[in-house]
């Protein structure tokens, strides 16, 4: 008989096994919610699926009486725009810093201590400074994301550049390359897929800072809504919002992976070996 450690699930079985915990969790929730409702029909802690649906229809499919907009989609849009801005700016800075510091010892000597120092500051601790300097508008929120994730990404990319075998750099020089040639044709293309990796890894952290900034000062956004309805214990809004954030995070991670696989097949096939 095959030993347990040698048994491999088929594709379908793997999918079913993966979905099982989610289904179980939904059933447990349903049961717990019914039990609490039976005791107190006004219970707000574990709203029924019908109540959640009603709340979401109100937010996502009914125009707001005041502005005529759909709050759920407006929240989603605002949050995604902030996230995209923050992550893009962070990616550009991190790529520039990581590449230059990794490739040029003189730059590394000048910039590494600063990056290390910045990465030691807890970003949340300087959030008040950001609000004072940049006001309560969009800038402060984007800057918080940038400050939160840039040092992590820059240090990661620096490490990836340094890891590129020095043989390649020597070889390029024997082929007539000057420093910019090496940056542009040898290091940058090899770092590009690793930049996508770095973005995927820091996306969770970026969401953390986004929600935190929105919770403190915002007039829309997914984090804003969650912290707004918290006052009324509106679990029927908070729970689907959290699930929605998780889904957005999952989809963006998957899209980045696909983008990387399409653009850099050599990188992913190398990794598989």
């Amino acid at each position: 008989m095959t030993k347990l450690i040698n048994k491999r699930p088929t594709k379908w079985l793997a999918l079913c096994l993966g979905l099982l915990p989610f289904i179980v969790a939904l059933f447990i929730y349903q049961a717990a919610s019914s039990a609490r409702k039976a005791e107190n029909p006004q219970d707000k802690l574990l709203p029924s699926f019908t109540e959640i649906k009603t709340a979401m229809v109100r937010l996502a499919a009914t125009p707001s009486k005041r502005t005529g907009e759909y709050p759920f989609w407006e929240d989603t849009k605002s949050s995604l725009v902030r996230l995209l801005k923050g992550v893009s700016i962070a990616a550009v800075i991190a790529l520039t810093v990581g590449l230059l510091a990794g490739a040029i010892p003189l730059v590394s000597a000048g910039i590494t201590p600063t990056i290390t120092a910045i990465s030691l500051i807890p970003p949340m601790a300087i959030l008040p400074i950001l609000f004072i300097v940049f006001g309560l508008g969009e800038t402060a929120k984007v800057v918080l994301i940038v400050i939160g994730i840039t040092p992590i990404m820059a240090r990661d990319l620096y490490q990836r550049v340094v890891e590129i075998p020095s043989e390649q750099l020597v070889k390029a020089q024997t082929l007539g390359a000057h420093s910019f040639h090496i940056l542009h044709r040898i290091l940058l293309p090899q770092i590009a897929p690793r930049l996508i990796d770095a973005v995927r890894l820091t996306l969770g952290t970026a969401w953390l800072f986004l929600i935190a900034a929105e919770a403190i000062a915002a007039t829309d956004g997914l984090g804003y809504r969650i912290f707004l309805v918290r006052r009324y214990m509106s679990m029927d809004v908070i729970l689907p919002y959290v699930a929605w954030i998780a889904l957005l995070a999952f989809v963006s991670d998957w899209l980045l992976l696909k983008l990387s696989q399409l653009s850099f097949p050599w990188y992913h096939q190398n990794q598989a070996r």
Partner: protein
Amino acid sequence: MTSNVSDLADSPIAKGSASHSSSSSPLVIANNIVKRYGDHTVLEGLNVSVNAGEFVTLVGTSGCGKSTFLKMLLGTESPTEGQLLFNGKPIAQEPSPERGIVFQKYSVFPHLSVIDNIMIGLEFTQSRVWGRLLGQARKQARAQAEHWLQAVGLTDAKNKYPHQLSGGMQQRLAIAQALIKRPSVLLLDEPFGALDPGIRKDMHKLILSLWREYELTVFMVTHDLQEGFYLGTRLWVFDKDKEDANNAERYGATITYDLPVSDMAYSHPVTQQPTALKSALKSN
């Protein structure tokens, strides 16, 4: 894939015919070279001169300084004392196009296809700012690269990426990549050390045929004495000629044997070795 080169390399005995420009002044001259790292002397008393067209193989135990000397020729290490002349001038202290290199590993660029890997050497020199050729210039460079693909027998793998190639094919690629620059010397740092014996034999044929056809000057570090005898026209043995029992790092290695490799040595590589040489290399 090897068929197109094997006919060129049928008889390695015919080598030596490539000592074409030996009448001119030596290509490489080493004058009393010493290399130290702190108190640790790696090399000392190194005096040699090499003419264009020679195929020099460097053998010796590990840590004997043969790779250090190759790195001096490459420009990534410099002598502590003494003079290393290349074409009559002190050798450049950083890698440059007149000295091609093939390492044991990591010599090719993983993000470029085979043809792009070969072409990039032309792109660097012909496009001084961006290192990227377009249009007609690219077509010409591509045609030139295809010639070298054929020379090393990689035409069928033109559009593959290095990770799709076997170890031997990757080394063929690394050689073609270096040769497209037509370097004055080709430096090989244990290029076949990681290959299977069968593949290594094919590579020996290839490198000899390329050496003869393109009149190369080759320096090759190897830990395989047989390989050194088989390929070289000249074999250098790196070893210490004096020992300090209390301080192993006091004296450095030097070239203890500088052997012209005759055809006879080739046909009976083991029996023709001097006994002292054999004992000097017993750890191999």
